[in-house]
Each structure stands twice: as C-alpha cells, then as structure tokens.
C-alpha cells in the first residue's frame, strides 16, 4: 500500500487529532502503527513504515517487561503533589509503586526534593467477588476515602486488566461521585491488555490530564515552558533544565513528577511545550495546541551540545527570548565546550590506538534513539546499532533525519527482551554497551558495559544527561565506563552466562519471532 501524496501518507501514518470527547486515547498500535519487534536496518524500518507494511509480529519466546499501567504510571502519578491515586485493580498491579518512596529518598532535600513527599496512593484490591459482581461501589467508596484521608485537589484513577475485562463503568462511578467530592476525579484508562506498547499508558495519562485537569487559560504566562519528563530523567536533569531556562528568565513547568495539580491545570497558559522525549510528550503537546493554542516542537531533545543549542533556540523563538538564548549559548559554550573537547580527544586517542572509532550500543526509548545517535557522533563514537523499546510512526520523520545525519545503523526494537539484547551485544561486540538499569540484561563480557541512564534516586552530578552539564557528565561517564573494566572482568569470571552458546550462534536475535502475523 503506497500513497499518492505525502499528505495522504501523513494522514495515514498517525492520528494527529486528539479527541477529548472520548473517555480515552486510541492505543499506539492504532494511533501510529506502533510495534515492538523488529531487527534490521533503520532504513529498512523506515521504508516498511512508510509503505504501511510494518507489522507487529508475535514472539514465540518473550521475557517479562512492563505494561501500560505498571511500567510508568504506577510509579509516577503518585508523586503528583496534592493528589491521590487509586489503583482500581488487584493488589499486585500496584506493587511496583511500593519501593518508590524509598527510592526518592536518595535525592537530598538540599537539591530541592520536597521534604514532605509522601506518595498518596491506594488500591481497591479487587478480589474474586469484585470480578464476579462488579466493583463500581468499591471504587466509589475508595474515592470517598481518598477525599477524606488526603483532602487532595485531584484523585487519579488507574484502571487495570481486571476492570477492563469485566467492563467496569468507570465514568459512571465518577459521574456519581464527583458532585459530592471536592477533588477533581481523573480516570486514566491504562489497563495492560490495551496495548503491547507501554507508550499507550503515557497517551492515556495525558488524555485524562487534558480532559479533566487542564483549565482554560486565565492569562498567558509568557515565561512558562512546559517540560514533561519520563522515568529515565533524573533530579540533576531537572536542575540543569531549570538552570538553563532560569538564565534567560524563563520558568520550567516540570511535570508530572512532583508537580502540583495547579501546574497541570496551568499547562494551557504556557508559552510553549518543549520535548525531552518526542513520542512521550506528543499527545500532550498536540492536545494543548489543539485546545488552547499552546505551540510545541518535537525535536530535538536537549541531549548533547548541538541538540541543546537547538532546543534552547526553539524555546527562545516561542518565548521571544532569541537574543537572550544566543547569549546563553555563547556563555555555556565557553564553559562546556572545552570539557567536551577533552572527552572527545580522549575518545579519539583511544580510537587511534585501536584503529577505529570507539563503538557503542545504546538507546532505550524512542526519544533516546533519536537523541543518542547525534550525541554519540558529537563524542566521536560510532554507533553501528541501536535498540529501542518500541517504534511508532510518530518519530518516522525524525528517524529519517537521524539516519541522514549519522548514516544507517542496525536497529533492534524490543521491550526489555534481555535474550535478544544479549544476542546483538555479543555478536556486534561493541566497545561499550549500555543497558537499562531497571530491566536490562547483565552482560558477561570483557569490554565496557554500563547503564543507559541513572537510577531515579541517584542525586549525583554524574546522573545528568540533558543540557550542557549532561552532555559533559554523560560523556565523561561513558569514558570512565569504557576505561574501567574491573567490574565486567569480575562478573565474567565469577558468574555463568545466562544463555547457552547455541543462542549466540543463531543468526537473528529475533529467532523466536513468529513469521505469520
């Protein structure tokens, strides 16, 4: 199926319009032909996507990953200040939220973490009886309880596979209760069975925020920049973004983590919505522009010096601060470019010694896929391959841009499939391989291996990855990880490999992919 005009193709590639009259968003498969299984050239993926031939095959063998509910929402929504979250689910669905209070404790109050940061969430703990008889009343009782205990400004309801299967009437329960509670009730339809892509959870959350919380703008806050962050962004990233924007007299509306309900309500008053990850913020950005005229841009994210320059310039354009931004860039370059150059020189030196550029295998989400490739290029690293937890047409254009900028590369699309990742890591044998600290594989290799991003509670400056400080901090971190290999050596010596030799001999990491759709 090939399209006659680009316009026609554009329309079919993904849905641009947000329909807030619906209870929730379409899932990413429907909205943008999302997939989470592919191995081949990035150019091959692009071609398939454009011609509408990209299909989401099944895996004959898969390892655990997350779902739309527990991958992100369950550990993020609870941090919203002045709000409470109700998991309308069996007790296990919220279990990943349990460790998070302790996790955030790693960030000292001196760095700006709220001293009082209790995470207010409850679970309706659905049991057999609720599945059989319905749990509408239980949900209503939970909402009243949340209002009573926490007196919040908003109560988020997260749905689960269970409520989805039994056809719970969430909106009906909300309609019944809303007139009697002060808090704004915000139902988020994020049951895991809805989608293979965890990104659907993000869209579902933004849909609910747009539909129930964002208010009609009372005034324009011309110095406010909306910045939405994902799980992989650290406290230091917040600080860096605030630092940079602060220097040109702008304020960052950092959401949703530790944001207040007011911040979410005021999203419509901002001057612009800036991305950290384009596909993560896509739904929110489009919705804000469509309903309230808040402009947005999708690319680039502020990773690496060149991209940070451009990111700031875009923001400057929408806030009338272009001159201030140029001045800021100049100043920041004076501080950071020499440091970057030092790192680059060291990578170049190592490259010269070994006879070729230092190769790195990285990425994580779609945003990082787009951001890391140019960043590695800036550092003088070669990236013959990359991994992405999923792919959908929202980033098609930008992916084309990256390929034209850094050249073609191998791409493995998979959501935390450790065996597949281990396969390409072993066979491509890069000098440095990066893995997700939460759900990555442990590689038994003598060459470099380290984390793609820091753990959420890591407050250390080395955990920065965005902005100028991040470009240098992460570049430096990669350099150190490349050089210091005692850990890998010990790991390889003392522990067995998780996979048999046979596995690495297979030609394709997607050995277990089912051919028929």
């Amino acid at each position: 199926m090939v399209f006659e005009t680009r316009e026609e193709a554009d329309f079919a590639l993904y849905e641009k319009r947000i329909d807030l009259s619906q209870t929730t968003c379409p899932n990413r498969e429907q909205r943008a032909n999302g997939i989470n299984i592919y191995y081949g050239k990035a150019s091959g993926l692009i071609e398939k996507a454009k011609s509408g031939c990209l299909q989401n095959h099944e895996r004959g063998f898969a390892q655990s990953s997350g779902c739309s509910l527990n991958f992100y929402l369950s550990v993020r929504v609870g941090t919203i200040r002045g709000a409470a979250t109700i998991f309308h689910a069996p007790v296990g669905c919220s279990s990943s939220a349990l460790g998070y209070r302790e996790l955030y404790r790693g960030v000292p109050v001196e760095l700006g973490r709220p001293a009082e940061y209790d995470l207010h969430w409850m679970t309706t703990n659905l049991r057999e009886k609720d599945v059989v008889y319905g749990a509408g009343d239980k949900l209503k009782r939970a909402i009243y309880e949340a209002q009573k205990r926490y007196n919040p400004k908003a109560i988020f309801i997260l749905t689960s596979c269970t409520t989805g299967i039994i056809g719970e009437d969430i909106e009906g329960a909300v309609a019944d209760v809303q007139p009697h509670v002060d808090a704004r009730i915000v139902p988020v339809h994020c049951e895991g069975v809805r989608s293979r892509l965890v990104q659907t959870g993000y869209d579902a959350f933004w849909h609910a925020v747009l539909k129930y919380l964002v208010k009609k703008p009372e005034k324009k806050q011309t110095d406010l920049v909306n910045v939405a962050s994902m799980l992989s962004y650290t406290w230091q990233d917040r600080l860096e973004i605030q630092r940079l924007l602060g220097k040109v007299g702008l304020r960052a509306n950092l959401i949703p983590e530790f944001a207040t309900v007011e911040q979410l309500q005021q999203l419509s008053e901002a001057a612009v919505t800036a991305p950290l990850c384009p596909t993560y913020t896509d739904y929110l950005s489009r919705g804000l522009e469509q309903e309230y005229g808040v402009p947005y841009f999708m690319y680039p994210p502020p990773m690496g010096i060149t991209n940070t320059d451009e990111w700031l310039r875009q923001i400057g354009k929408y806030t009338g601060k272009s001159d201030e931004v140029e001045h800021l860039i100049e100043e920041e370059h004076k501080t950071w470019k020499p440091k970057m150059q030092a790192i680059r020189s060291e990578f170049d030196r190592i490259a010269a010694e070994k006879g070729s550029k230092v190769s790195v295998l990285g990425s994580l989400g779609q945003g990082r896929l787009l951001a890391q490739m140019p960043f590695f290029d800036e550092l003088g690293l070669a990236s013959p391959a990359a991994m992405s937890q999923d792919y959908d047409n929202l980033i098609l254009e930008e992916l084309e841009g990256v390929v034209s900028q850094v050249g073609d590369f191998d791409l493995l699309v998979n959501t935390f499939q450790a065996a597949e990742q281990s396969h390409i890591t072993t066979n491509l044998d890069p000098d440095l391989t990066l893995t997700c600290p939460f759900q990555g594989g442990a590689y038994k290799r003598l060459k470099g291996a380290t984390r793609i991003h820091a753990l959420r509670g890591d407050p250390h400056p080395w955990s920065t990855q965005s902005g100028y400080a991040g470009a240098v901090a992460y570049g430096n971190f990669l350099l150190q990880a490349l050089k210091s290999r005692a850990f890998q050596r010990t790991l390889k010596e003392k522990t067995k490999d998780s996979y048999r030799e046979w596995w690495f001999k297979q030609s394709n990491p997607l050995y277990y992919m089912k051919k028929e759709v």
Binding site: Q30, H57, A175, D176
Partner: protein, 297 residues
C-alpha cells in the same frame, strides 16, 4: 441536519431480535435511510439476512489479526445499502465475549466509523442476556440513546426483558440509553398479546409493535433474506415497515420499572394458571390445541 438515531435492540437468544433488526434495517433502507447495523453477539450472524445468508468478517477478527486495521475491512454492504458490521467474539466456552463487545465498540469509535459513513440510523443488535459489564456497553453513555427489546409471551423471554429493564435503570442516571418500547414478537394468539400488554403495564413500558409469526419469514430466512427483500408486498413486510417508521419517529424514552424476582414469579404464576385453565376449557370444548409457544414455568 437531523441527529443520528442510535438504537440498541436487546432480546433473549433465539427470540427473533436479529430477524427483527435486519428487517427494520431493510425497511429503513427501503425508505431511503442510511443505516448501519452492528451485531453485538459472538454468534456474529445478525446481518446474515441482509447478505443472502453470507457471514462477514468481524471487528474482533480484524483486531486479532494484528494487522493495521482499515475501516473497509470492518464494514460490508448489505441489502438496500445497509452497512453491516459484526463485533464478533470468542468461540463458546472460551475467553470473554463481554470484553469483546467493549473492544469492538471502542475500535469502531476510534476508527470514526460513524463520522465516515454518516448514517441516519445506527442499530445495535445485542445479546439479550446482559450477563456482564461488557454487554451493557451499548446502553452506556455515548453509544445508543434508545433501547427496544424483542420479547415473545414466553416467560424466559420476558425474564430477559425484565433483566434488561434493570440494566437500563442502573445506567439511567449516568447518561445511559433509555427505554422506548417492547417489540412483541411471535404474537399470533390474542392471549399472547394480553400477556405482553400486561407485562408492559406492570413495568410502565409501552409496546412499539406486535409482530406475528409468519411463513414469509420462515421462507425468507431460508434464502438468507429479509421479508422486505423476499416479498416486499407481504403483510409481514408491512409490519416491519410500520415498526421501522415507529423507530424513526418515536421520541418517547423513559426509565422502565422492572419487577422484583418475587413479583415476576407471582406474575408468571398467575398467567400460567389462566393459560392452563383456558387450555382445559378448549380441550373440553373440543377445539384444536393451539400452539401457545413453549412452556411457561
């Protein structure tokens, strides 16, 4: 520009709701209306009589295939240009048909099928045993606005209608569809009419139409056709035309008053007594025993 008339038709399995619905669709199409008929039953045969007995691929089949979904694969044209859609569902004994209905209707909305085809009337033909949340989706906010139920004078069918009334009452306050009339099906004897009329009066409901059993229907269904297609000038076809007109014009919608279990039992028992008495009298009078439909318990 008139709003779309969206109607859900519920009825006990086998009572004749798909026959009724497809005949209404055909009659409406005959009047020049654009109709979408959506079958919401895992049997997926609601629209067969608009298509010469041929079934169509279902919405859930399309979801299951994993391929990118095109509207064209979901909608199929039938007699008179009626747009036919089947939600589909699992085989007997597996999965969850209720979730199937939820997923199918959600997909149709997301795919903007109603915006694309701009119907005058949308008919949801739904399984009458509203056994779980999923089957009530057509009567929840934003789907159908009016509900009709097909019932005969048989107790089981009336029981199902009474259950439906409970469901409607439950969703009435949160924007759910309201009730607009009973379609009394297979009504051939005066006493069958009386039974249904009495039930209507007890539950505060109205009768939309009385539809007799008919050989025309028996014959037309064998060919996979509606009466409108098979024998457009027949009496039966005209009954459906009258019902279609009612459906089109009836603005009356209200919350029914379902009977409680005990009340319903007593009501059924009283009719049982009367029917048995009459049967005895008829037998004594030597009259041929009439076909009073199946057992009333």
């Amino acid at each position: 520009m008139t709003k779309v008339r969206s109607v859900a038709i519920y009825g006990k399995g086998g009572i004749g709701k798909s026959t009724t619905t497809s005949n209404i669709s055909a009659a409406l199409a005959d009047m020049g209306k654009r109709v979408i008929q959506i079958g919401c039953d895992p049997k997926s045969d609601s629209t067969n009589n608009l298509r010469g007995g041929r079934s169509i691929p279902t919405v859930l089949d399309a979801i299951r295939s994993g391929k990118k979904i095109e509207i064209e694969s979901l909608v199929h044209e039938g007699f008179g240009g009626v747009i036919c859609i089947e939600a589909g569902g699992p085989e007997p004994g597996v999965g969850c048909a209720g979730r199937g209905i939820i997923a199918a209707i959600e997909l149709l909305r997301q795919q903007k099928v109603f915006e694309e085809y701009r119907p005058d009337v949308v008919l949801y033909d739904v399984l009458g045993d509203v056994v779980c949340g999923g089957f009530s989706v057509p009567i929840r906010e934003g789907v159908a606005e009016q509900v009709y139920t097909v019932t005969s004078a048989d107790f089981m069918a009336i029981y199902a209608a009474n259950n439906l009334f409970k469901g409607i009452k439950k969703y009435a306050n949160s924007g759910g569809a309201l009730f607009s009339g009973i379609i009394a099906n297979s009504v051939t004897l005066p006493i069958q009419r009386e039974i249904i009329d009495d039930f209507a009066s007890r539950t505060g409901t109205t009768i939309a139409e009385y539809v007799p059993r008919s050989e025309t229907i028996t014959r037309s269904e064998l060919l996979g056709q509606t009466a409108i297609e098979y024998d457009p000038d027949s009496e039966q076809a005209n009954v459906y035309r009258s019902l279609a007109r009612t459906l089109l014009q009836n603005e009356n919608k209200y919350v029914p008053k379902p009977l409680e279990a005990e009340e319903l039992k007593e009501w059924a028992a009283s009719w049982s007594d009367r029917l048995l008495t009459e049967k005895k009298n008829d037998a004594r009078a030597g009259l041929e025993s009439q076909n009073i439909a199946s057992t009333i318990t």
